[in-house]
Symmetry: C2
Subunit: 351 residues, 2 copies
């Protein structure tokens, strides 16, 4: 049995003002009217039937996800009472699967993958590797540039075709280090997608995250009972936030990487949109009703109404309903800082 | 008797998207909730009573002007059936005044004047000069920079304190010429404000614009009759567009200029807004709910909602309802071109 676990509780702050507290990035209909969450489901569906696809999300997004995925069995939409990063999230999903020998494919809900066929081909290889033993398998993305926003995975020996032993997981590097990683050819971007057996995950959580393991053991008997949500909330409230990467992958031995080159994009900021939406002959990336005059290299999105540009270059210009963002293209990461300032100033209606 | 004639039929295309076909520049509440038209009335009111203030405008603006100036006698709001530039507009107003010895102060409705006291002091000097004979008096603005967007007036001899004979009216100069004008100290910007007796204007129209004179003679007997609007429309339809400057001032002999330094600003484009609204310590001019991060030298206006800037310089960013303009500050003149393109593409809902 193969299960997909799609994590859909994040915010995507750097895509403000499109991504909002009530309508986060993964639910934005970015791809010709389809959201990245819907696309993630469609991507694995040919390999994994719908009743084996679980989505973990937060309460504010529940109804929107039901609307976007009406065919998903109700029971497959799991609520996290609060964000505690990826390890508790995935541990909770494992309890719902409740089959030690089942294979779990852990996916983000807010990434774009262009070559779906190739993704599924490599997913099958990762699944085979995960089922072969107590293996933790991850996808490594061939880096295109010295990106400092991702963790990197250094590969070791090739174990079998297209599967490498992981030599090292690294945190987000500084720029010179990222350049060195890129030049070496031995490093991949950590895409945050994982494959393993439920039993493997539970063993690793027991070994490396005993607090989480104990918490999950408290939750387990409550699943399906009237106390389910209450117990999960109580346990999660006491858990520390810990990621799979930091909590397990960096510590475990049997970690493997399947290098992938399938047009992956984490849509981490507005600067990612040219890759998603394409670039027109004037060098602009435009979605919505947009007029440009003597303007080049811009990324322009308008959810409604009209946006007009005159004589400007390398800007991000976003209009979503009553909110406008104008940002230098090379400062797309600072959108998070701006959102923090909005919060600090109590401008909550724009969050 | 002194009459003010305020011309309020223009469009102000370069202030798009604030200035629209249905809500032009002069009706925009730019000055702490007051429009430039209201401000123009308030400016002359201490000198000229309300029943001697005439406003000439176009039909689409009629109701809005009544709303902005409820105290104005209905009869003082004159409709031009179509725009034919300033000479026919002013000629029509003269018919409504219908007192040869009355003094006419012709004003634009879409300029800002900061020092109203000084303006009125000089206005009184201009009125005295106009009443002294068959004189055409204009205000010349001391140039601040080699502006190429205005006509210039070269002064001749000082006739009496603060009144000069006009040596020459010039069309909009090229940049080197404008620099030379500025350096000479003999040139003023043509502000488009005029003072003369009704009889003087009529004589000049008869002399230099016989077609217009004939047209006005056709209209004259219809004023006050049920045929009034029909006759005006018929006559205006046949008239050529001609400005006061080109049609009369450049040709007449008895032209005088009163130099003025009263904080005049024609608000000709968004680039004028720092002078109207001021500049904050970060070097930005902001009106509306605006957040800036590492951004300097920008002009930002948002009619509603929020506009946020990150890491940008010397931009004009305007959000009016569902329309956004982002324009390099030194290309503010191209807004007109953009509006033409919107027209050409049939995007009429944004005009």
């Amino acid at each position: 049995m193969i299960y997909a676990v799609i994590m859909a509780g994040g915010q995507g702050t750097r895509l403000w003002p499109q991504s909002r507290e009530r309508k986060p990035k993964q639910l934005w209909e970015i791809l010709n009217g389809k959201s990245m969450l819907q696309d993630t489901v469609d991507r694995v569906f040919p390999l994994i039937p719908l009743h084996q696809i679980l989505i973990i999300t937060a309460e504010p997004f529940y109804e929107q996800i039901r609307d976007q995925l009406p065919q998903l069995p109700v029971r497959n939409l799991i609520l996290e009472p609060m964000g505690r990063s990826t390890a508790p999230c995935v541990g909770l999903a494992a309890l719902y699967i409740n089959q030690p020998d089942a294979c779990m494919v852990v996916l983000a809900s807010d990434h774009v993958i262009r070559d779906q066929e190739e993704f599924r081909r490599l997913l099958q290889i990762a699944i085979d590797m995960a089922l072969q033993g107590e293996n933790l398998v991850t996808f490594g993305i061939k880096p295109q540039e010295p990106e400092t926003g991702f963790g990197y995975i250094r590969r070791g020996a090739e174990i079998k075709p297209e599967v490498y032993k992981v030599r090292q997981f690294t945190e987000k590097p500084d720029y010179p280090t990222a350049q060195r990683f890129l030049a070496s050819g031995e490093y991949y971007w950590n895409s945050g997608m994982f494959v393993w057996k439920v039993s493997t995950l539970m063993t690793m959580i027991e070994r490396y995250l005993p607090d989480l393991s104990q918490g999950l053991m408290q939750i387990k008997p409550a699943i399906g009972s009237p106390d389910e949500q209450r117990v999960i909330t109580e346990v999660f409230a006491k858990l520390k936030s810990v990621s799979i990467d930091y909590g397990i992958m960096e510590k475990a031995d049997a970690t493997y990487v399947v290098p992938g080159d399938f047009g992956w994009n984490d849509v981490g900021s507005w600067a990612a949109m040219p890759e998603v939406w394409g670039v027109n002959p004037e060098g602009n990336t435009c979605q919505g009703t947009i007029m440009t005059l003597d303007s080049h290299g811009n990324i322009v999105y308008t959810s409604d109404g009209l946006t007009a540009l005159i004589g400007v270059e390398n800007l991000i210009v976003v209009k979503v309903q009553d909110t406008v963002l104008v940002c230098a293209k090379d400062q797309a990461q600072k959108v998070r800082e701006l959102v923090d300032q909005l919060k600090a100033q109590g401008l909550t209606e724009y969050l």
